[in-house]
């Protein structure tokens, strides 16, 4: 068992991790992932929802190995560093709904905070509105925390509860191996595979899995969190996590410049639309949901790898949210927002506010 000073959680460590993730994400695009989507936790979970048939949007179906790598990498890292701690019971149902809402909001923008940064790093100006929305959403979240919002304490749980998400991810990996992609075929056994669109664009299985696991380990050690970056900046004026956020942007930007993936502009950006108001407000909703749940979508997977059942419930909520999003026409496409996307944003915001206002702790410590 390893236990020493955690360098990656230091000021220098978090910057190194941010740069490393930025470089790896930009390289994943070079290796085949969609444009400005080297890593997108929301998009990848949405693709997984498609791969197992929870929605039938045929352009976004692929069992993304990066997500499996994230969770299992964090799991291995937590075990090695004695940080695997099964816990849960902090209002899981509210977290499930927050996960759904976060995903619905993110899919109006077309990306989670991770992809918002990568879109900026690739020159997509529309992401400016997404990042601004994210900051506003997280900012609203900090007001709730200041006012005493809490989902309550989690409790220690049995090992069995802590390994559920890692086992589910191993199950996904088994499915991916048993039913590999058949070129040009939309189905392999029970898994769906996109033959066109973003779901058809991906790096090789082993590359995605290994990079995912490396990111999982780095992020577990460093506590990297894209939502926490903005939250701590707004709430405490702490730059620690934010420096990782900026480092990711710079790492990806430099690699994009070198390999020719930097294309500044607003129109014709990969997997993006130009409706600025909706780019902004989709991310307000997602940012608020992430803030109320205590972590960005990546961090939620890493925490579930550490045995945090509440984070695991949030991840499952996101996958369910992706299914709802595509089944009900809430998700955007490069043509613009979905037929019911505007309603989704409004009701998502209402849902977050309802959860926020109904979880105020009157006894202040």
């Amino acid at each position: 068992m390893l236990k020493r000073d955690n360098f990656l959680a230091s000021s220098r460590g978090i910057v190194i991790v941010g740069v490393a993730i930025g470089i790896l994400a930009a390289l994943l695009q070079k290796f085949g992932n969609p444009g400005n989507m080297g890593i997108c936790v929301a998009c990848f979970e949405r693709d997984i929802a498609g791969a197992i048939g929870m929605h039938r949007a045929d352009v976004v179906q692929y069992l993304r190995p990066e997500i499996i790598g994230f969770g299992l990498g964090a799991f291995i890292s937590a075990l090695l560093f004695r940080e695997f701690k099964p816990r849960g019971g902090s209002t899981p149902l509210a977290r499930f709904i927050l996960g759904m809402i976060a995903m619905i909001g993110a899919l109006v923008f077309l990306g989670c905070p991770w992809r918002a940064i990568l879109r900026l790093a690739g020159g997509d100006g529309n992401a400016l509105f997404g990042v601004a929305g994210l900051a506003v959403g997280v900012g609203i979240g900090t007001l709730f925390f200041r006012a005493g919002y809490t989902l309550g304490r989690s409790e220690k749980q049995r090992i069995g509860a802590g390994i559920i998400i890692p086992i589910v991810l191993l199950g996904f990996l088994a499915l991916r191996l048993v039913f590999p992609q058949v070129e040009g075929n939309p189905k392999s056994g029970i898994l769906f595979y996109s033959v066109k669109g973003p779901g058809s664009q991906h790096a090789a299985l082993l590359i995605s899995l290994v990079i995912g696991a490396v990111v999982g380990i780095l992020a577990q050690r460093s506590r990297f969190c894209t939502m926490g970056a903005l939250r701590d900046l707004i709430l405490f004026r702490h730059l620690h996590l934010f420096s990782g956020f900026v480092a990711l942007l710079l790492g990806a930007f430099v690699v994009n410049l070198i390999v020719g993936q930097f294309h500044p502009g607003f129109v014709g950006q990969p997997v993006a639309h130009t409706q600025s108001f909706w780019n902004f407000s989709g991310m307000v909703v997602a940012g608020l949901a992430f803030a109320l749940a205590g972590g960005c979508p990546g961090r939620q997977i890493f925490m579930s790898g550490e045995g945090d059942g509440d984070a695991g419930v949030f991840v499952l909520g996101m996958i369910a949210g992706a299914a709802v999003s595509h089944n009900f026409g809430l998700a955007s496409s490069p043509a613009g927002i979905g037929p019911y996307g505007a309603y989704a944003v409004a009701f998502g915001l209402l849902g977050c506010l309802l959860i926020g206002f109904t979880h105020m702790d009157r006894i202040k410590s």
Partner: protein, 74 residues
């Protein structure tokens, strides 16, 4: 009379342990407070926050399933 103030942040997730600690540091009259957390992330965050508020982390006691962080006014 000087009594040690305690913040029990066990089971709470980000940003609540830090929020509770900072609010206690601002309100307290005592020169020393103890923060109890149950995971490494909260331990790191609370230590970082205390330092940024101009306090000093005296020591961190590792017990079964929890850390006791002792913070002292510089």
């Amino acid at each position: 009379m000087e009594m040690k103030d305690t913040v029990d942040a066990r089971g709470l997730s980000c940003p609540q342990p830090v929020l509770l600690t900072i609010s206690k540091l601002k309100k307290t009259n005592s020169k020393e407070i103890e923060v109890i957390v149950d995971n490494d992330v909260s331990k790191e965050n609370v230590c970082r926050a205390a330092t940024s508020q101009g306090w000093m982390v005296d020591n961190v006691l590792e017990e079964t399933d929890q850390y006791k962080i002792h913070i002292r006014k510089v």
